[in-house]
Symmetry: C2
């Protein structure tokens, strides 16, 4: 089955916002095994939207529209789509009540134009929206299905996941299931090389690698008549991936991030950690604190941007800084150990490097970053050379630091 | 003049990447005063691309294509576009030499398919690419202009800014100039209300507000015959905005971020600062360290996620924590002052709050964040209640902390 995406909004055509909805919906449709050949963006202009919609009806089985369901005069997606499908709009009582209670809960007055949002095409399915005032809509015809979703991602994403995804699953003659394993500490091309035979031999299930900063995600997707048959196809491939990548796999749960996996290990083994950051300047700690409840394991962290702070807060020796410089494996190691000791933590993870754009030399170029992890008397240190902008170098450094922290914990608990 | 955007890449249709190029190019075209009515995404499929391109030729004056200029067999944007424009491909000697030297510099071997990238449509303008191996291309016909750009943003952005923007400026009968003023410490709707008369009365120049996290950017755009006439239209509006918003404007330079503006103030007044973070867990320091060269003013920072760390590192009193709790104006104030004293800095900025999703109570709900700034004996404290996800609450907290830091410096130096 083919699916086509039409995002409606002048703010997209003016470049005021980035179209993250398109990426989200495309990824979801790919997971469902739907083929997407076209995405379009049009403004809040009924003539152009109608033209596009008629073309989409000719060439695609499913059309997903997002945006333009707001209460104002410009918002005409619903009116236009209903017109193209030959439906008139009728008031939906439940939608009306939900809009009323949504606004009342927030202490907002109801204005006359809010009732426009309770109008729906006759005979459609209404997707009620607990996160906003615009309900979503599914309109079905013999050979076309048109799905309307609100534009704000915090409304669109839960509505899609909870109501549209299961609906689209049911539309498919076969079901599509997928599993994801996430790797850290290996590059995309190396990961791909290790499974090239699987990728080349694949038809059902398929394996596809996705590169993220400092991570590689592998998605295994299978088509089958039912879920148990699909997982029966997936499981041996997943086992094979686990054999090949071993500890490089940090999770097989798509919701789990690298920082969550690290926080879980810390908690499981009752370990505490501290951070000692120079060029990342708090971003590593910031990622750990992304995890709600990490406070049991992570109580304090240090940003030591100056040499004086490295000496004072972490006890890095003056001599080390003089002899090897702030960006050196020696300094990184002392930062990690000193941080752990200052904080009274089991582990200390340290980052020191040259993020650029200035400050590089021939011996120590921009992108040179040392990462150390101390754990109970032992220090593991890594030297990395990253390319890219200041922010890219810092992002990669944070991912590598989390990866080294994870490796250190795994080494420690194995012994 | 109308412009249309076609992004080519299966990775966009699969949702593997977010289409930031579309946002960048749309914003640039809006600044140029070009009207964009359609954006599309297609895969690396010559049939569908050709179909779209023929349609775009009918309805738009300028067509910008990006992506699909790589060296591999799938990359067919150039071949397809040349076909639609009725041009054959010829080798461009300079492109060939530049590809050779680009690869040689990086120690990469040249493979046979790299030479494909030196082929260009006959009679076109070649946009040489110092950041990659794919040159950009401009093809002109009587009533259509087709522009091909490489997909990677680090190649596309400089090529557009340096070579395409000036070209498009010259195409226009009138020139478009714009200026941006950036505000912090005021919400979008409040900012809009303050200039509603200007927005309603506008034709040339126009004023448009753009909401960013914790900031509002106002862009003034004028059309005129030449640059000096355009700026003559812009200047009085800019002066009026400066009158109305005063110190809320932190810059009129589009390249300057809030953290850069704060870092500049610190440097200008020879002030040092430290950070003391609880719920933001290093993100505030991380944003300051975005600024290269901030090390003069920011030497160290503290992440004090636990109460013990707040006492130990910042000297927050045990009694304050017991009586008012970690999330209170009293604790925030003591964190800011204690941080400044521990670090020996002139200023201390502190954040403590409940980022969620758990941990809220009726008295202290999720989203409650206290921000304090200490400067030479005085403490300024703000109470905020943010809505949104954990990461949104943390992002807003960081923006507010930078805003309060800026306000504190301005107050301090005025006296």
């Amino acid at each position: 089955m083919t699916v086509e995406l039409i995002c409606v909004g002048t703010e997209l055509l003016l470049g005021n916002i980035v179209n993250t909805n398109a990426a989200f919906l495309s990824e979801q449709c790919a997971m469902l095994g739907l083929s997407m050949y076209y995405q379009s963006v049009v403004g809040d202009n009924p003539g152009r939207l109608e033209h596009l919609l008629r073309m989409a009806k000719e060439r695609s089985d499913i059309i997903i529209l997002c945006g333009g369901l707001g209460p104002t005069q410009d918002d005409l997606t619903k009116e236009t789509a209903a017109g193209v499908m030959g439906k008139s709009l009728v008031e939906d009582q439940q939608a009306k009540e939900e809009i009323q209670s949504f606004l009342a809960k927030r202490g907002h007055a109801i204005t006359e134009n809010n009732w426009k949002q309770a109008l729906v095409p006759e005979g459609c399915r209404v997707l009620y929206n607990p996160n906003g005032t615009a309900p979503g809509i599914i309109m079905e015809e013999a050979d076309t299905c048109v799905i309307l979703l609100p534009g704000p991602p915090n409304e669109l994403i839960p509505m899609f996941e909870e109501q549209v995804y299961p609906y689209l699953c049911d539309l498919q003659p076969e079901i599509i299931c997928s599993k994801m394993v996430k790797l850290c500490g290996i590059g995309e091309s190396m990961a791909e090389t290790k499974i090239l035979d699987l990728i080349n031999a694949q038809s059902n299930p398929t394996v596809a690698p996705y590169a993220k900063t400092g991570e590689v995600h592998l998605r295994i997707t299978a088509k089958a008549e039912n879920e148990s048959q699909a997982y029966a196809l997936i499981t041996p491939v997943e086992e094979e991936l686990k054999n090949r990548f071993g500890d490089l796999i940090y999770t097989d749960d798509p919701q789990v991030t690298l920082e969550m996996a690290v926080a879980e290990l810390l908690q499981k083994y009752h370990l505490t950690v501290t951070t000692a950051e120079s060029c990342t300047g708090g971003l590593l700690a910031g990622r750990l604190v992304n995890v709600p409840g990490v406070s049991e394991s992570f109580k304090e962290g240090y940003i030591t941007y100056s040499n004086e702070a490295k000496e004072k807060l972490l006890g890095v020796s003056h001599d080390t800084l003089l002899r090897y410089g702030a960006v050196s494996s020696q300094t990184a190691a002392e930062m990690a150990e000193g941080g752990a000791k200052s904080a009274g933590a089991d582990l200390g993870v340290a980052v020191t490097g040259i993020a650029g754009p200035e400050g590089g030399t021939k011996e120590k170029p921009v992108g040179l970053v040392y990462i150390s992890c101390y754990c109970r008397g032992k220090v593991y240190t890594e030297k990395n050379l990253y390319t890219g902008s200041r922010s890219k170098v810092r992002e990669y450094s944070v991912a590598s630091a989390l990866t080294l922290l994870r490796k250190t914990i795994l080494n420690e608990v194995k012994e």
